[in-house]
Structures are given as C-alpha cells and as structure tokens.
C-alpha cells in the first residue's frame, strides 16, 4: 500500500518535471533527441521509460516552445536537432522561477531538523 502511494505520487511528480528538465537540457544549445535522453537518464528517478521524452518533445514543438532543424551527421543519416524558441525561453524562465519558489517553500516546510 505504501509503495503504491509513493509510486502514484512520484509518477505525478515526474510528469511535470520532465518537461522542465527537457527544456533546461536544450537551453542555450541545440541537441539531438537521443542526446537529450542520454542527458536526462543520468538524473536519478526522473526517467522511468525513456520513450516518454519523445512525445513530450513533439508536444513542446506543437506548443511552439521548441523548434527542430535537420543537420548532416558524419555518423549516419541526417539528424533532427531541438532548440528553444523565443517563446520557449520565456516560458522556461517562468517555469524555473516557479520551481524555485516551490522548492524553497517545500524546503522551508521540511526544515533542517526534520527528515
């Protein structure tokens, strides 16, 4: 029962965090889809199924937060690279600020002496 509660909660948390992490991963650079997956898979507990990243990228593109460009690759066929749009940059600043506020508030609730 405890595990199920934790699993549900962590699943919900991951859903929101993945988009923030993807946008932060792409910020300031241009990344290939697979590279984004490799970057994020190192964050413990964030990525349970790597395939979820690709529909999120597609959704972010439809929202106008990221754009794609095709570039030739020496390692194989041309690759699709993702980078933030202007709109994406603005939203990301908002999201990061919001996340910082929530994190600060949660840390304050947690307190230094408690768990």
């Amino acid at each position: 029962m405890d595990n199920r509660f934790f699993d549900n909660w962590s699943t919900q948390l991951r859903k929101g965090m993945l988009e923030l992490c993807i946008l932060n991963a792409i910020r300031g650079t241009s990344l290939y889809g697979y590279d984004i997956v490799r970057k994020l898979r190192d964050i413990k507990g964030l990525v349970i199924s790597e395939g979820t990243i690709y529909p999120i990228l597609s959704r972010l593109k439809r929202e106008g937060l990221v754009r794609t460009s095709i570039a030739e690759s020496t390692e194989g066929p041309p690759r699709k690279y993702y980078e933030l749009t202007g709109k994406g940059e603005k939203i990301l600043i908002q999201m990061n600020s919001y996340w910082q506020d929530i994190k600060a508030g949660t840390d304050a609730l947690k307190g230094e002496d408690k768990l």
């Binding site: 697979y34 199924s49 690709y54």
Partner: protein, 297 residues
Amino acid sequence: MINFNEDAKKHMDKYLCEVRTCLRDCPSVDADEVEQNIIEHIENEFQGQTEPVSFNQLDAVLKKLGNPTQWVPEEEIAWWRKVVLRLRTGPEDWRLAYISFGLLLLSFCLLALNHRGLEAIFIFPIVAMRQPLSFLLFLASFIISRATLTTAEKNTETLGGQKWLIYPSLILMYAPILLLLLFWHTGALIGTAESLVHWNQTYDNWMKGVGIPHNSTKYYFIWTFIIIALTGLWWSLLSLVTIKWSKLVQIAFYPFASRFNRRKGFLFLLIGIILMVIGTGFVFLYIVMQPNHHPFF
C-alpha cells in the same frame, strides 16, 4: 544502417505498430515524428555494432523505452479509443476473450430480436442454426475461444478470469454435441418403437400376445430396458473408438477433456457393458417369464 535478425525485426515492427496505435489521434503529438525518433533512438543504441542485433538485445532497449500506452496522458485519449487500445494492445488472450464473449452476446441478441429469446438460452446452437447470422457469430465466438486457449497454452499461461469469457461458447458448442453423440439413438429407438406399433400389425399382435400391450406400463418398461441395453452397446462401441483415439477426444473437447485417456476409455467401456448386460438381461428375463412368450425365446 543497423542490421536486425529476423526475430528482432518482427519485435521491432510489433513495437512500432504499438507506438503508432497509441499515438494515433492524439492531438498534441505528431505520431510520425515520434515514431521516427524512436527508430533513431534504437539505431543510436546499436551504433557501431557489426553483428545483426538479436531479439534479446533489442528487447533490452525497448524495455528501457517503455510501454507506448504510458506515453500519452489518459485525458487526451477518446473513450472509444481507450476501448480499442485495450483490445489491440492488451494481453492477447484477454483481447481474444473479450471478442469471443462479445460475439456470443451479439449472437444471443440477434436471436432474441427474432423472438427466440427463451429457446435461445436452452438449446442455443440448434436454435441459432435457424438464424444463419446468429449461428455464424456463435461459430466465430467458439473459434476465437479455441484460439484463446491455444494462445494461452503457447505462452504457458494459465487462464484466470478469461475462463468466464470463453467457456460459455465452448460449453454451448460441446454440450449439444456430446449429448447427441451419447444419446442420438434414444430418439431413433423411441421413433422406431412408435412406428412399429402403428405400421406393423404382426408386432402389435405379438406384443399383446406376450402380455405387453402398447401404451401399457409394461410396454414402456420393456422399451426403457431395451434402450438401456442399446445405449450400453453404443457406448461400448464409442468407448472402443475413444480408447483407440483418445487424443481425438482431448482435441475435440479441449480443455474439458484434456485429461481423458485410455484408462477413462476403458471405464467408459465397462459402463457400456454393464448397461448392456442389465438391459439385455432384464428384457430377456421379463419376456421369458411371460406365460405367452414368443417361441423364438
């Protein structure tokens, strides 16, 4: 370009089909783009591998990618699509079980619509035959039930709740066949007995002569034991067939007869012989003991 062996190729095709199925009709996602990303992801995982990718290697990568049904938020999927997804991507034996039960219900409904509701329940396959479409649906349900059993057996799975969905069509098919096989002669004999009375005066006179007039209690008593004797004879013959070809019985009435073997066939033979002895013995003794019995006895 990465090479896959035959099994890995099929596995990949199946996975990509699931991806397309799950993402189709999702307004926020470009299914083609995601599929392309997945293909590139897989190719990147095996970059530099010279040997063909095996099933196990590919499976490890696909497991890390995860189940496509979990990629799309549920609120984005239309309700009918959820049903279709459940049927198309759920465990195969459950899908087949749902379809089998659905066809059986549809068959019942068609019969009920044609005012054969009550009859349909008790002697379903026979009544269903008078309604071709209903019978076809019932037949399809039966075949899919058998397919479900085969699939479960192939995957070495035991059927759990699926039994409730597939057993009705199996029972409705097997029960009449079994009853017909075991007791077809009863109807024939009763018909013969009645015909003999009406069409054969010599027989009628003889029966009266031995003190067993038609429509008397004794008459029906004698014929009951004649039927028992002939049932015993038929069952003995049938049991010889089942002893010789017990596998046929297992296949024909699978899964209910899956434990049928030659030993059970011999038991069946024994029952047949006992019935034959009882029936014949009783008839013989009864007629012989009649004061005016026919000289033949």
